[in-house]
Symmetry: C2
Subunit: 204 residues, 2 copies
DNA sequence: TGAAATACTAGAACACGTTCCTGTTTCTGG
DNA sequence: CCAGAAACAGGAACGTGTTCTAGTATTTCA
C-alpha cells in the first residue's frame, strides 16, 4: 500500500491508441488464447505470455493489470466473435424455449469444443473481483444480448425478458463451473441447461 | 511429478480419528473462519492458519490438501449449522415461492452478515477443481436439501423439485459472485434472488 | 527542433501457495 | 514393554503472480 505514482496507467483500450499498441494488444490476446487452449488456466503464465507476445513483463501488466483481467478480456473478445456469428439472423424456433435452446446450445458447443480454453476463461470470470467489473460486464452483456434476442424472437420486448436471460446465464455459467469442478460430465452440462430452459421458459 | 510415496494421507475425516486429531481439525477450521471473517480470502494464509491453530504447515496440508479444500470444508461446516437451525421446522408460507423465499432469505442474510467470510468461502467454491468435488458436493447437497424441503412444504415430493432447487441454487451462488465482483450491491443480491424465485416457481 | 513526458525493455525482488527434508513424538501390533 | 510405522514440528526451498528499479526508446507539444 504505497502512495499512488504520478503516472496514470492505460488499462482500457483508448481511442488514442497507436498502431503499435493495437498490435501489441492483439499479440498478447493471441498468445493468451494459444496458451490457454493448450494447457488451461495454469498454463497461462504471465512470463510466458509476455515472452510469446514479444513484450516485457512490465508492459504486459500495463495493458492488463492482472492475469484475471487478461483472461476475461480474452473471453470478451471470444464472446464478441460468437455474438457476431449468431446475431446475423434470428434464431429459428417457434417458442421462446426453442430459440433460446438453439442459441445456448451453439454457445455451449462452441465452448466445450476447446475445453482448456473455456476452463481458463470461465475460471477467470469467477475469480474476478471489483477491479475487473467492467470487463466481466462486457462478457455478460454480450451473452445477455444473445439470449434476450432469442427470447423475443420476432415479437419484440417481453415481460421480464432481461431478468429471465440473467437467470439462464447464471445457470449456464454455474453448470460450466460444475463441469470444471469435475462434478458433472460434459454431456450433462447441456442436459442441465436444456432442462433449465424448459422450466424457466414454459410454453405459453 | 514424482512417484507417489508409500504412505497414504488422510484427507477425509475418518471414523478412526484420535481425539487429538479431531481437536486439531477443529482448531484449524476455527482459525480459518476467524481469519476469513477478518480479512476475506486473501487473509486466509496457510502459514498464518498453521500458526494460529498450533500446527505445523505440513500437518495443515495433511489435513487439508489445499487452501481451497480448507475453505470449502469450512463452508460445509457453516452450511451444516445453518441447515440444522433452519430444518427444525417447516418453513412458513402457503406457496412454494413463499417458503423458498423464507429459506433463501434467511440463508442470504446469514451470509451477508459476515461479508468477508462469505467472500472467502464462495470464492473457494468457485475455484474448486475436481480434487475438491466431494467437499463441494457436500455444500451443495446441504443447500439443496434446504430448498427442496421448502418447495415440498407439507405436500411431499413434487415434479422437478430437485431440478428447480438446483436452478435456484445456481442463481443464488451466481448473484453472490456478482456481488463479490462488485457488479451489484448487497441489496440487489436478495432482490435478484427473490425475482428468480418468482419466475421459476410461479403460483399454480 | 529539442526537451519533457510517456512507454517500453530487461531483469531483480517480493509474496504466498505448495512441496520437501530432517528430526522428534505418538500410535499400533506383537 | 518394544520395534516399526505413522503423524507431527520446524523450517528451507520452489513456482508463479505481481511489483519495482534502472536504463533506453518513442511520442508529444511548445
Amino acid at each position: 500500500m504505497t502512495t499512488a505514482p504520478a503516472a496514470v496507467p492505460a488499462p482500457v483500450p483508448s481511442e488514442t491508441e497507436t498502431a503499435a499498441q493495437r498490435a501489441r494488444r492483439a499479440r498478447i490476446i493471441s498468445a493468451t488464447l494459444a496458451l490457454a487452449s493448450r494447457g488451461g488456466y495454469e498454463a497461462v503464465q504471465m512470463r510466458e505470455v509476455a515472452e510469446r507476445s514479444e513484450v516485457a513483463l512490465g508492459t504486459l501488466y500495463r495493458y492488463f493489470p492482472s492475469k484475471v483481467h487478461l483472461l476475461v478480456s480474452a473471453m470478451a473478445s471470444e464472446v464478441d466473435q460468437l455474438s457476431q456469428r449468431l446475431q446475423k439472423r434470428q434464431p429459428p424456433g417457434k417458442t421462446r424455449a426453442e430459440r433460446v435452446s438453439f442459441v445456448l446450445e451453439r454457445s455451449t458447443r462452441s465452448l466445450l469444443r476447446d475445453p482448456l480454453l473455456t476452463e481458463a476463461m470461465v475460471r477467470a470470470m469467477m475469480a474476478a473481483d471489483a477491479t475487473v467489473a467492467a470487463e466481466v460486464n462486457a462478457v455478460r452483456q454480450g451473452m445477455s444480448d444473445l439470449i434476450v434476442q432469442a427470447i423475443r424472437g420476432d415479437d419484440g420486448e417481453q415481460e421480464h425478458d432481461v431478468e429471465l436471460a440473467a437467470i439462464l446465464q447464471d445457470v449456464w455459467f454455474a453448470r460450466q463451473i460444475a463441469w470444471l469442478g469435475g462434478r458433472i460430465e460434459a454431456a450433462d452440462v447441456w442436459r442441465d441447461i436444456h432442462l433449465a430452459i424448459g422450466l424457466v421458459l414454459p410454453d405459453d
